[in-house]
């Protein structure tokens, strides 16, 4: 009977080996990106380490009391084609995440500690605000202006999930003041005073 089973296993293996394994599509980052993601790394070169991202650690806090560690498809090729990615954030006491948007990604915050106010503003101009503590999850719909504040007595930390393998971030101040966009035009299209614009351009190293 062992022989029979051997043959059986052999035959089934033969059937399944006609095609290369397709249980996954690890990104070949050197291949060109496409609207659906990167080409797949050849299955024969894939090892268990392709499925692991080891450095999802809290980074050193910066002067602004927060750190952010991304695990996007460019850092973690196993996310290719999955449509989501991750970040790890820690905000020191008193810190804030400034006003920003993610162009094509809903953000989900999983609070892992501290007391953090998350806030977003919808396109019909309503303000949604929530104080988050450990074990809370909060959803920030795609593309909307949002920000956060650590209002607790210690650090606030979280794991964030984005509905994109490659979420982009547009920090409002950097976008408005950190490039060479003419101050007069900024004024005309944002109704900010030119003096205010020039003050922030100086801070954010913009010109114009």
């Amino acid at each position: 009977m062992a022989l029979v089973f051997f043959l059986f296993a052999f035959l089934l293996c033969t059937i399944t080996s006609h095609v290369v394994a397709i249980d996954f599509c690890i990104a070949d980052l050197k291949g060109g990106d496409t609207p659906a993601g990167y080409p797949c790394k050849s299955p024969t070169n894939v090892t268990v380490d392709d499925f692991v991202f080891s450095n999802f650690k809290i980074g050193k806090p910066n002067q602004f009391n927060f750190s952010f560690t991304p695990a996007f498809v460019d850092h973690f090729p196993a996310l290719n084609g999955l449509g989501f990615s991750f970040g790890r954030v820690e905000i020191k006491r008193g810190g804030a995440i400034p006003m920003h948007t993610h162009a094509d990604a809903t953000e989900v915050i999983i609070s892992t500690g501290g007391t953090y106010i998350a806030c977003f503003i919808t396109s019909d101009n309503k303000v949604y605000t929530k104080t988050l503590t450990e074990g809370n999850i909060f959803v920030i719909p795609k593309g909307l202006l949002h920000f956060g504040l650590n209002i607790g007595k210690g650090k606030a930390s979280g794991i964030v999930v984005f509905s994109s393998e490659k979420p982009s971030v547009q920090i409002l101040d950097i976008a408005l003041f950190g490039n060479n966009l003419d101050s007069g035009i900024i004024g005309k299209t944002t109704y900010l005073d030119v003096a205010q614009i020039k003050k922030l351009k100086a801070l954010f190293k913009g010109s114009g």
Copy 2:
């Protein structure tokens, strides 16, 4: 032979009439929206007028010298499930479209006249600017801050296409200053001076 053809037509019709027509899915706006769009209006109630949007006209210009006429799925149910929608815009001499984003829609501007500067800022903080005239098409990627200026001697007009049936718009000033978001928090997260914030809150009828 006519009889044969009659039977033929009859039989084919029988085959095809087993199921209701499914060449289209006109939105039943009274049904609940879903992540994929509205339920389909019953095909038996559909008429040719369901495929027509008649009022894609230039509206009256407002005090700011522009008009905007939307043809989104809520106005034009034939767009249900198509993933795009339309707008018609006319900007008077000297007018501007203020800084804004569309959370989940790429915008395509088809210039139909005048001289119009379109500008967007990417998430890596580059400014892309182009002067558009009749017969130019310009693509503004999804979710990015952008604005426009009529720099010509007359009106500027265009047809815009959005990569969403229901594009939303978030006007920067209204989002920041047109609600009750606390001025201190706005200051902390945008680096704007509180005096500037309060000035614009007054203009945009916000409080806080």
Copy 3:
């Protein structure tokens, strides 16, 4: 404080520069097409002109009184992955667009002038006909036979939007009579008289 802001901007930039910009995916037409579109042009080579299509102009009318200017992804790589594309059409007095289908694209006609009858036939054999004038939009569901007639006293013009980056067109007469498909087989499968078929094959330069 300026120093602080400088550091802040620096740090945020560092965060965002870990990955290349992904706000857009301009087609690299030399890369192989995929079911989801072309590979993305390297972001470092992208300029503002990649977002512009300059020649969306009315072409010279042909002997049949119409012109058609396409802006598909192969002409306008910024449309890559967007799922729609454009055409500009002008039909002289008395002109017609002959019976045809678009295999995988819904067509939307935005009338920009004149008086034009648009007509499509559904799979349950109903005829939907509408007379379009400036400011009307008309939707022709995917894959159905349709045609148009300029019934006005002057030109009729429009902008068309297709629900595909690469819409194809199958002109009925060219498909039936402009190749070497055997006349007997055409007769057997269309019930047209062979004399009629041969007459049109002569006109459309087909053989067989």
Copy 4:
């Protein structure tokens, strides 16, 4: 130890029973269709028979020597959301499937017997023809004109798969001649002679 296992099973069941089963989404045909398919039948009402279509049999041949048995989502609700459906066809000796298109479906023919010529015409006006016998599969790309001929000495049969849960069919002759579309307009847009049109309108019971 049995107790332990009992508790284990109990606990896991508790975990998994928090939500209703979502391994499938059988169509609730009475619910309104949406662009993504029908609402799901309540899982508590689903039985094994919801996964079965029993009548995928060859039907009686008609006067034209063929039969067609559809298994689309409206006949077989288990196909809801799957994006494909089936048909069973048998063509008697000498029979033909007339020129037609499927607006939104690629068709795959799996020949189960006989000798059958399948033919499609692409949008760049090339004719692709293949003689199929048992054990051949043939793909007809979405939306293109195609037809078939039984050229064997007996019946030809096949199973067809469509890349749509609800494929539509547009038979060329019925679309052109089986309704009240004006003969003059048909002539102007198809270049067919009006006499030919009127002859076929008589056969296909059209008017105009």
Copy 5:
């Protein structure tokens, strides 16, 4: 000038208020599910609490030393249409997660503490094993058999992300032994000895 701004804001609001807010689609769980998700809750009834899941806490450990807290769309309607969901897991010393599959979901494990071996087996019969500690992320491709073991000296914990709003879990033993599937048939199709099957059926409360 204040008046002008007021009018401006008013007009823009008018433009944007033509359609209801569509920045999000919170699930209306009472509406029928569809292949694309639940219908959207009416935006007028949405509050900030719809975006919050408060109980993403570690549950009480069971006899097997693990707890699992799901945050799927049925528990957290804000995930509707997003295509992912969450779970929180804690495994006591010596605990194991038994062999199981998620039919339609890739699983991502974000280790938050302890020492945990995660393992999956691909369809070409390779075993991928990794020891995870705090700050590691591991991807388990969709639909494959996998399991985990706490091999550390204390608890192991993690946050899991599934590539489905409604991930299902099929525990191998419960599927095989916890129902009334005939032991002879199980033996014939799994090659397990009937005595072994009956022993496990007794433990998992199955019959047959």
Copy 6:
């Protein structure tokens, strides 16, 4: 008039030849796979044979009384991007298809003869069983454990359709016993006796 038609055809051809044919995307298997499928073979190299799979024949039965002939995208490149593929199966009297899953594919069985019991087990631990005969179709939802038994007096045969171009199969016994996964770990995570595991490892040529 012939000249006019010639010019007409010429002009239309010119319009349509601006872009390469895009009615299909035959897989270029040498190009790297992507999450959306293979790159498209250059249309200029495509012939009618690219649309044909000729060997969809019943293979020789193995010692276990069944044969399986796959027509997946790697065997039949015309399936690229279609999202489904095919197999042909024949099971001799008394044969069984052992317990297995398809990680990312719903399976549809179209019975073409014999008497075959198909069975699947859902994630809420219900057993769905059906006896299939010629002309029955049965749907096995994605990712679930299932198996089949020929209970008739002769062969049972079928055509299977998978909702994936590249369905994978995970045979339960081969996955558990046909590799070097440690028997103790298998025991701990499946509750099988180690003796049973070692017996099957011997049969399926596994080690550990």
